[in-house]
Symmetry: D2
Subunit: 358 residues, 4 copies
């Protein structure tokens, strides 16, 4: 199992939900880049739980502590290490016997993989809490990308039966992305937030949860970044995106809607605009032959309903090997989408920075 | 740009559509594995063009020539190198000036990336012809996987408006997968082939092309293979799957259908069956927390309509920077799906073998 | 620049000499391995400065703080993260202008590489202090290797004009290695320590420093680990060994003495001993064709004299670009060899564990 | 086992001594670089056997056949694949039972590693013949390095008791390196060739072989290439250099002579020359803190005596597990050094190109 990724910008993520701390090491960053930590904390706050009814009321004080790689407000070029202390740790509390795995969670395969030695408290290393260092790293990547003229942003495209206005694939702008990135509930259509909150509340009251889709875009990319076969922009971003818990699908441009499409309708033709080559449409989501086309990068990720729900569920007791009913205590997000927006932005920003760093 | 992939089983693919040859080197294979080359050729024939009206009538004699790594019919453990000669090469014919890029192809970004030096004849290294070595490598991987009890197979789930019966995610069997892998037009519903051929013919007559979805499954996987964060089964397979030209989306289990789902309906609960842990459903497509769950692996890939169509399209002349109309000569697949089935199987088989080799 | 290494066991090292902290993340460790931290601390103490006149009198309290990857005294299989706080940090003290680079140090190339943004205080990320996390990781690796029957140990083979008895290449034992690993001044010949200390003292009094050779061995290795061409045991270990500051040469078995040798004298012939294949000699240092031969692994590393000496040296002022004389303040090791023994052991242990983990 | 190396320029080597062919794929090359194949063939001829009494009289026609990655005389940026047919293959001759392993060869560990399935004819994938594709790749790398102002060259520093004049570490020039690279017996001192040939002949007549040292240098490198800890110039080059059969040691600058040196004598001080920083000496061989210092890169590799000698040697019969005497038939190089010079140059050129490609 590897929690390390990246070819040029290497991210190593560590920590367990109820261990001492979580954190990350980012290796390969350029030196001399000024970082605005308030903006980094803002992204981390967007991911943090407890802001409103749509997310879990647990209180986490996720204050990233920088250990290395910075001198004053600039990167030194050495590995940037960051730690967030866990405040929910009770020392000596090693009651760690997996009895009843939560359905649709990592519990059961992790139990088999690690022979019962993994830390199961709060999901251990598989906890969604591990997305906090990912957001930290992504927020750093976003600021470095800005020095290259690249902006990344995302919004909630769908929750259950409620949809937001999708990106105009060929017209998305830097301003729109920055605006979305500044929101705690990122939607394009101003009416979508209330409808989506209503949808979430409906499932919450039913002790249930609901899934959705997050759409992410990036503008300012050069033409020809990435490569074909095993080095495609799509493949490299997906490898990171599927590292976000609950992500079960990734598509670029029209994605699965290509299935019912014909080339005459969806081919992205060219035209000369201001003496430059431009695409007349962007159904390919900014990637052609695995390389950036110059049009905005547009992708969507499918996120499953939070598997932790309050309603009783069928499971098995792994010690007695008998059927049983599981009731998960505590309160969990009835919908992870609002908090997952900065996580998706981060994964995309990290992947793009890695691609542009060669 | 990298045409090398894999951590434990490393595949290096080379070749250009109109160059001397295409081929691959597979590094890290176990020694002493008996390979049945007739079955490898059969998979390559499933991918090869020219079998019927649904595919391009060009004649390719894709005979793989083994250069190393085999002694008699067994692997030696040294790199397995394979070459397929290109028969459409005209030596000395280096007229290689990119003038009008084909819409939705790699042409334009490749022109920018390689400064006009890449071989553009037939798409060069970006040609779908490069999937031939991928199918070779995948066919080898499938036979090695069989020694581990793992079987991979795929079918055309959808072409345009026509759908095949999808896999029963929790009930797909080895026999079903082997049967699908033996077909040249892989569908589950016997009626689907004619309907799909009709759909393709409709677009062909209109000088157009159509997209679709291929669904792939694998059975016999152990529990706990893969890992979380940056080592998920989903991420590792996607990185390879997006290397297949025209693939624009990858989803596992319900994938994008999770967006409108609630946990009560889609969580995969557990039960004890014959003294073992079993899943009562498999909406997660055999992957939980990035690891195999023991249920069949089930994934789908979205494939866009072949961008090369006979109808005239808007493009630009890169030499004069003027708008122009492009008419692509020759005949092309009005639908790539039937030939892409063994390619998807191969990508999945390679990815699984790499994951199981650690 | 990368501070990440390893294929199966990935080590990411971070920190700067005068930053907040140094540490490491070890990714890919097996789960359920019991670790004795007293033994880990003992190895770290062997590396730590300030024990006697042969090393710098600076006081470092290098207490490793475990952040993740352990539950009680066992590994969980998740990344093992460790942090050591720097106590010599003065917050706000960012006077970081490189004026006069120390001869034979990283100062000048680092200044050029990082455009003056790297943390130069104490050498920053290039400080030998970064070997502390390496020793931590190596001490963990040594304990995991013990569960596989492999033991690693090293001694000071030479300092200046004084030599220790070299390993009997075909007769080195586990007991000998464990004994050497328990010493703070590791030599085989009991008389060597005093002579070497005398040699060091001679250079110290002359405001000078002296180099030497460390010889390292490992026993209990299986036959056939490693591989040829780009995966040799020699190449993989060297890549890590050259990461130790001041290491300028690595040789296996007779190494550079092979240059004046003939095959009749140095070929390692075979014989049957107790029904098994044995080597009659081990001039190849336990590696044949890049793979372990079953004989003890024996290698030597050359270490240059500590470049930081009290005597004045010629250098340049990088701000004014004028010649100048540099006098390095503070006190430094007149010979790094005694402290470098556990560092070499650690690099070898890490490399072997990575090789055996596939 | 991996025959793939490199981070940015990835080389995959394949083939077995008596298989169909040997060759390589170089992935990640820049596009549009004009290659002079006559110069590539010249380097390959320097490595090829049969030129005179110092090398084996076997006739090999090592004509590299380019399969992809070139268009006319320029690189396309796609993988550059090359094949050399083996002419000594007898089809159907699969008599492959390892009975008596050759001392100091890969035979025995390979037998254990591959369970007897590896191709043992001529050493299989472990044959020194596999250095032919390495020289091809290195010759390509050398031409690309020239476009960056970097020149690589090597000479025989020592054979048995005979030494050549070593490089003036701080004064080696491009012209000297080009001159050495053009020779079939590369020495600096014009008298050294005859003496070395005499030394070799002495051992040849005694049915024996002799080892030696090759010294390699590179000039024109920028300051600050490479990096510290696990990314040092020394470590990256060593990882490739140890892939050359018979290499048992690698040292940079003074290397093992540092052991008896003191800092006052060997520290490389700085001075301003023509307004630029210059080193007054180059005992570190052009690498400081793992990075290039701007001075010439100077390294040496130790090469053991060719283990294949005509004299009878002790070995064991692996089938009967009895002691036996082995007499190796055929004729072999009594000294590999003259042919190994271009191989060392190639390994260094490839490593430098990989380092400079980031």
């Amino acid at each position: 199992m590897s929690s390390v990724t990246g070819k040029n910008i290497r991210l190593s993520v560590f920590g367990e939900s109820h261990g001492e701390a979580i954190g990350c090491v980012i290796d390969g960053l350029p030196s001399g880049v000024k970082l605005d930590f308030d903006r980094i904390y803002a992204d981390m706050a967007r991911r943090a739980p407890g802001r409103d009814k749509t997310s879990t009321p647990r209180l986490e004080k996720d204050i990233p502590h920088i250990l290395s790689g910075m001198l004053g407000d600039k990167t030194t070029g050495a590995p940037l290490a960051m730690v967030i202390e866990n405040t929910n740790t009770k020392s000596g509390d090693y009651d760690n016997i997996m009895t009843v795995p939560r359905p649709s969670h990592s519990d059961y395969p992790a139990y088999v993989k690690f022979g019962g030695n993994n830390d199961i408290r709060g999901g251990g290393h598989f906890s969604a809490r591990l997305t906090a260092p990912l957001v930290f790293a992504g927020a750093v990547a976003k600021q470095i990308l800005e020095t290259k003229g690249v902006t990344v942003g995302a919004h909630i495209k769908q929750i259950g039966s409620v949809s937001d206005t999708p990106f105009d694939k060929n017209g998305v702008t830097k301003e729109q992305l920055l605006d979305l990135s500044s929101k705690s509930f990122s939607v394009i259509d101003p009416d979508a937030e209330d409808k989506m909150r209503g949808e979430i509340e409906k499932y919450r009251l039913d002790l249930d949860s609901v899934g959705g889709i997050i759409e992410c875009a990036a503008v300012g990319l050069p033409v020809g970044a990435g490569g074909n076969i095993f080095d495609t922009v799509e493949g490299r971003l997906s490898q990171i995106l599927f590292g976000i818990p609950a992500v079960k699908g990734v598509e670029f441009g029209l994605g699965f809607d290509f299935a019912k499409s014909n080339a005459k309708a969806v081919n992205d033709c060219y035209e000369v605009v201001d003496g430059k080559v431009a695409l007349k449409s962007n159904n390919n989501g900014g990637v052609l032959g695995g390389m950036t086309s110059g049009a905005p990068l547009v992708l969507s990720v499918a996120i499953k309903p939070t598997p932790s729900i309050a309603a009783p569920q069928d499971s098995v007791n792994l010690q007695t090997m008998e059927n049983t009913t599981l009731e998960i205590k505590g309160r969990h997000d009835p919908c992870i989408l609002p908090r997952a927006v900065p996580v998706v932005e981060s994964a995309v920003a990290l992947g793009i920075l890695d691609i542009l760093s060669e």
